[in-house]
Symmetry: C2
Subunit: 157 residues, 2 copies
């Protein structure tokens, strides 16, 4: 049985937790999103947010970082148990990304992913499509970020 | 008249063009998306893509970089002409992001944004919501990336 066929709809995995530090928020935002409330601590105090917050793209890319770390752990565990290791392909994109609450410097965001649907690819029978609902939750239990992702997973070589 | 009221639906702006170098692709992916086809040139040759490609999150964050550069130029021009400078707030999120084609090392992506709709905020009369359709196109004229964004723009102080 391939990894794709083995995946269960409804399975939820916590991927890990990330502390968004002031320095990391500023470093990412200087490269990709230099709005004052992402790069300037003093100006951020006078913004509608009241303090320095992470770029939404930083929050999103960090979800990917923790997804990959979980995949690496999972692959190692599967290899140790003699199970087939999944072969993930590209993502055609995603839907309905929401930045629901600011991520402040000092916040710790816990990322999770839940399998929502799986579909065989019509045009590429060796691949399946995996749809997931992904979240980021802060240390107060508030949902700060969510989106629906899609990724190709190989069904057979 | 505020910047929000002045904005015309249908206005399209080219934001700029970005060369995705091998080193930059690998540097971003090492931090946020260390899949082999984003970080390992040799392994990428054996992947379904056939060569090193940028993380989709890198392609997306770079759109933001060029949006901000265009905003900075536009603000300076407006100040020089004595026009009000827009005050952008947060984005509640976006929809239907598609990674349509790979972005290879050496590709140059031209980013653009087009105003699609503007809505007064019901709950916050001092803010309006601006909806835009955003694209990335490679040097061959192929659309590689698009999504629909939403951002708050201040209507009055």
């Amino acid at each position: 049985m391939s990894y794709f066929d083995e995946m269960q709809v409804g399975t939820r995995r916590v991927l890990g937790s990330h502390l968004f530090t002031r320095d990391e928020i500023i470093a990412f935002a200087r490269n990709y999103d230099p709005q004052t409330f992402h790069v300037d601590e003093e100006a951020a105090k006078r913004s509608p947010f009241g303090a320095l917050i992470a770029s939404g793209w930083h929050t999103a890319a960090t979800w990917m970082k923790y997804l990959l770390e979980e995949r690496t752990r999972d692959d190692a565990e599967r290899r140790a148990r003699g199970l087939p290791v999944p072969d993930f392909g590209p993502s055609p994109g995603f839907k309905n990304l929401r930045w629901l609450k600011p991520v402040y410097a000092g916040d710790t965001i816990t990322y999770a992913t839940e399998v929502r649907e799986k579909l065989p690819s019509k045009s590429k029978p060796e691949w399946g499509l995996l749809m997931a609902y992904n979240t980021g939750t802060n240390q107060h239990g508030d949902l700060v970020f969510d989106f629906e992702s899609t990724v190709f997973v190989r069904r057979r070589a």
